[in-house]
């Protein structure tokens, strides 16, 4: 059964145009960069944006959120770069390595699309705000356990949550440009999330051979609450100023209250059943992010 039949993360956008040329080097590298960036699932109809029909405060609200999205996507570039080092150190299989490194390239594409969206609403050609990943580094642990723990944080939890949010947001988005951008990002994030679940399964099956002491399952169980808290920190963070009007919602934006509901739903219906199916104890995850947390906004 190919459940990803509808998603082609290796598609080719025949109508590609440079997305955020103001962020490029001005060297011949740009041509190869464009070849990498056009490898996406859907064309983006940049000129079809309905941003002009919004009020100035609505456009400012959307510009603020798309800039924050560009910051998160930019941060993910270094996150996957650091994760690749952990996976290399743990001698992860070649397909895990290639998918992880490709994810970093995908995140550059996402950051480019987000700054272009911000430009549509603000008229300003900004760069993504700078940020570097701070994945936990614990040299005294077995390398496999660190690689697995960070894969859980980055991929199983964060990226899986991202796909849930994107799928939900897409259902409300009618602006054609925002819809295409979100669809393009979604198709990549699905692969980024699957990477984690596949590696987790692989590590559980092969990782403990000849090893004494802490098991792979122990390492995964230890990481789970930290990973959930990490994403919850993002969900609980302050938002840009401005009301989320009905018109703003059609451009791919929801309220912080809704985001809490999505995260709680994701924990209950996706993450917890997933870890349980692989034999990873989930501790108090359901209580920590249950209805009380979801309605605390």
């Amino acid at each position: 059964m190919d459940v990803l039949a509808a998603v082609d993360p290796q598609g080719r956008d025949e109508f590609y145009e440079p997305t955020s040329p103001w962020w490029l080097s001005g060297t011949p590298l740009e041509a190869e960069h464009h070849r990498l960036m056009r490898r996406r699932s859907v064309s983006i109809p940049w000129a079809a944006s309905t941003a002009a029909a919004l009020t100035a405060p609505e456009r400012a609200r959307l510009a603020g959120t798309w800039m924050r999205r560009s910051e998160a996507e930019y941060l993910a570039v270094s996150t996957f770069s650091v994760l690749a080092l952990d996976l290399l150190a743990a001698r992860a299989p070649a397909d895990v390595l290639s998918l992880c490194l490709r994810a970093g390239i995908d995140e550059i594409r996402h950051a480019e699309m987000c700054v272009r969206m911000a430009e549509i609403y603000s008229g300003k050609q900004n760069l993504p705000p700078f940020g570097m990943s701070s994945l936990p580094d614990e040299p005294e642990r077995p390398k496999l356990h660190q690689a697995l723990a960070n894969t859980m944080l980055v991929s199983c939890v964060s990226e899986t949550y991202a796909t849930t949010v994107l799928a939900a947001t897409l259902e409300l988005t009618t602006d054609p440009t925002a819809h295409a951008v979100l669809t393009s990002i979604y198709s990549d994030e699905v692969m980024h999330a699957r990477l984690g679940w596949s590696y987790l399964r692989h590590a559980i099956e092969t990782g403990d051979a000849g090893r004494k002491g802490e098991t792979v399952i122990d390492a995964a169980a230890q990481m789970l609450p930290r990973a959930l808290r990490g994403v919850a920190n993002v969900v609980e963070a302050e938002r840009p100023v401005g009301e989320v009007t009905p018109a703003v919602r059609t451009h791919g934006l929801m309220t912080p209250a809704e985001e809490r509901v999505i995260f709680a739903t994701c924990v209950r219906e996706v993450l917890v059943p997933g870890f349980q199916a692989l034999g990873v104890p989930v501790g108090s995850a359901l209580d920590d992010y249950g209805d009380a947390w979801a309605s605390a906004a």
Binding site: W197, R201, A227, G230
Partner: protein
């Protein structure tokens, strides 16, 4: 407006969130972790010029006559003399330029060393990207 948002929240909590979650369960977790199998089974356009590519050059011209060949020989002798004089002048200029460049390089190297030391001192104050101290920061797609 507040009512509108409340309603949206309820609609989302009961339908959209659930639909998305079950979709993600199937496409990401179930497929990624191969849950269908038992676990024990093993398994700029800133108006920049486009990069140039060298073009193959092919030309066909008629063979020259004898008079044309003599004229060409005289011409090439004059050209050779001129080139020799120019080469001598260039060598002198190059020597002067090299002395100036050496002095500039020394100055730049000294400045770079100072900058590197300052940057290293600055970096030592901050935790590096790989650090045990920072707590894990998860990320997802920023919704709002």
């Amino acid at each position: 407006m507040a009512k509108h948002r409340e309603l949206a929240n309820i609609v989302f909590a009961t339908t959209l969130g659930h639909t998305s979650a079950s979709k993600i369960w199937r496409t990401v977790v179930f497929a990624g972790a191969m849950l269908v199998m038992p676990l024990a089974a093993g398994c700029g356009s800133r108006n920049k010029p486009a990069p140039l590519e060298p073009m193959p050059v092919t030309r066909t011209e008629p063979a020259p006559t004898e008079a044309e060949q003599d004229a060409k020989a005289a011409e090439s002798k004059a050209a050779e003399d001129k080139a020799a004089a120019e080469a001598e002048a260039m060598a002198e200029q190059e020597a002067a330029d090299k002395a100036a460049a050496d002095a500039a390089a020394k100055e730049i190297a000294a400045k770079e060393t100072a900058d590197r030391e300052a940057a290293a001192a600055e970096a030592a104050k901050k935790p590096r990207p790989r650090t045990t101290k920072a707590r894990p920061t998860g990320r997802g797609f920023i919704l709002s």
